[in-house]
């Protein structure tokens, strides 16, 4: 089974972003592997360790620096990587999910992948659209928000997170697209020996602009602003005052 894993270079989860000129200011900001993509790579590597998969290919779409994201994926255990280069912003400001899924579609068809694992969403755009759009373009079954995956390489049972609990879905025949959620696994650290090994692994580079796909955004971003600062709470003197405020100010009790 050949697995293609999408890995996205995003603003590091721990960074507090600032809004400047109606967009997120990315200057001098720490970028890292999207946490959900990290979970996807971990799952793919585990499937390889279980001998269910025989190759894990990591793919990213991004600028020159996105090779660092691929190096992380290779250090975690991916066999080789594909870097689709573009200087377009990948946080929804320029490159958007429909174009991204078309790029993935082309690579999946060339690579003959049996399974595509993606993070459920990028923590920059929070779209969650690439997985479902890709499945639609390929005509493949899809499961999103996977919290558990069991497969023998031919069929697959996925436990899926929903607002009201876990849904279990059986994909009777691969190939399929699965997007990964938080509970799926705990990603490994990149060990020094594996980081050294990753340097020798193959990375194929290709320009997004040369793929014959329309990369123009389908949606226009009208405005970007920071959420209003949280209002300070107040201390109340006693229970009566609390009830009064809940009733008459917050209006949350009758």
């Amino acid at each position: 089974m050949k697995i293609l894993v999408g890995v996205k270079r995003v603003v590091d989860y721990a960074v507090k972003v600032r809004v400047q000129n109606n967009t997120v200011d990315l200057k001098n900001i720490k970028m890292s592997l999207n946490p959900f993509c990290e979970i996807a790579i971990e799952e793919a590597v585990r499937l390889k360790e279980q001998k269910v998969a025989d190759e894990v290919v990591a793919m990213t779409i991004g600028p020159k620096q996105a090779t660092e994201t691929l190096r992380t994926a290779l250090a975690m255990g991916a066999d080789r990587a594909i870097h689709i280069t573009t200087d377009l912003r990948t946080d929804y400001m320029e490159l958007q999910p429909f174009a991204v899924s078309q790029i993935f579609q082309k690579i999946v068809e060339e690579e003959n992948s049996d399974l595509v694992l993606l993070g459920k969403q990028g923590i920059d755009s929070d779209c969650g659209q690439t997985g479902p759009m890709l499945a639609g373009l390929l005509g493949w079954p899809q499961v999103t928000f996977a919290a558990n995956i069991e497969t023998d390489g031919k069929s697959m049972t996925v436990e899926r997170e929903t607002d009201s609990g876990t849904e279990t879905i059986k994909i009777s025949q691969l190939p399929a697209v699965v997007t990964c959620d938080l509970r799926l696994n705990e990603p490994r650290y990149a060990t020094l020996p594996n980081i050294m090994k990753a340097k020798k692994k193959k990375v194929d580079t290709r320009a997004a602009e040369d793929m014959g796909i329309d990369l123009a955004p389908r949606n226009q971003v009208l405005e970007v602003y920071e959420p209003p600062p949280r209002k300070e709470g107040i201390m109340v003197e006693n229970m009566d005052e609390l009830i009064d405020k809940l009733k008459n100010e917050a209006g949350v009790i009758a």
Binding site: T72, A190, T191
Partner: protein, 279 residues
């Protein structure tokens, strides 16, 4: 005596990096404040969520960034103190200057005086610029000689970007492991947390990779992991900062802050161990 109500930040000059804060300000709050202004408070302690800057000054606190940013004696540029007779002294607090080589350095007496000469009420502290790139590695060594070599190599390879070098031994980590997962799964006699601060991530990572591959080639470092995100950097620090609380939870702890020449550390530890009952 508590100064927790004296918790206002009075001024911050981004040109010089001088922060003027009242003694009851919590260190974490000062770090958050300066971070949004591209600066950083030069001391960092595990207790930063609760400790107050006045207390840090009165105890001459060290912290994990001591090697890189120096001690409070160098970074405190001014103090306001209240003497036992009620007199309030402004010792270079307002105004506060980067360079003041006039006269006796009276404020220095109060740093580490633990309140015996007066109560610290305001602190003017020099904050370095916050570096854009923060990287960390968690390394494993076979013995203390290797830890020392790893430090020497870090100084020569990492140079100006080395910010913290914290070692932990297997006894402590064995206790920490029960509460906090360790980045390295195998148990080694010593682990080291190395952190770098620099202005250019590509440049810093290139230095770190050279350091790590040399250290591994020479068997100074046997294993290790390199943080791939700031969350992982925080995970490494969680292990380091859990050492004290996890050990304390095990029973009764006698804590002594002892400064020794680096080469004497293992001898000191083995002497203490040999003088303790086997349990």
């Amino acid at each position: 005596l508590s100064v927790e109500c004296l918790n206002n930040i009075e001024y911050f000059d981004s040109m010089s990096g001088i922060l003027g804060a009242q003694a009851g300000c919590i260190l974490q709050d000062l770090q958050d404040y300066t971070a949004t202004r591209d600066h950083l408070v030069p001391i960092d302690l595990g207790a930063k969520g609760t400790c107050q800057i006045g207390g840090n000054v009165s105890t001459n606190a060290g912290g994990s960034y001591y090697y890189r940013y120096g001690s409070l004696r160098g970074n405190v540029l001014g103090l306001e103190v209240v003497l036992a007779n009620g007199e309030v002294l402004n010792l270079g607090y307002n105004p506060s200057h980067l360079k003041d080589n006039t006269g006796y350095d009276l404020k220095a007496l109060f740093i580490g005086a633990e309140g015996t000469l007066g109560i610290v009420t305001k602190v003017a502290i020099l904050c370095p610029r916050l570096q854009k790139s923060k990287c960390a590695a968690f390394l494993a060594c076979q013995n203390f000689e290797q830890v020392i070599k790893a430090l020497e190599m870090a100084k020569s390879h990492l140079g100006e970007i080395l910010a913290a070098f914290e070692f932990m031994d297997d006894e402590v980590l064995g206790v920490v492991k029960e509460k906090v997962p360790l980045p390295i799964l195998e148990m080694y006699p010593y682990c080291v947390l190395v952190e770098t601060h620099g202005s250019d991530e590509e440049h810093d990572l290139a230095k770190i990779e050279k350091y790590l591959s040399s250290a591994m080639e020479e068997d100074i470092v046997l294993d290790g992991v390199l943080a791939q995100s700031l969350s992982q950097v925080q995970d490494f620090w969680k292990v380091r900062e859990s050492c004290n609380p996890c050990v304390a939870e095990k029973g009764f702890v006698y804590k002594y802050d002892v400064s020794l020449p680096v080469h004497d550390f293992p001898l000191f530890v083995s002497e203490i161990r040999s003088n303790m009952p086997p349990e």
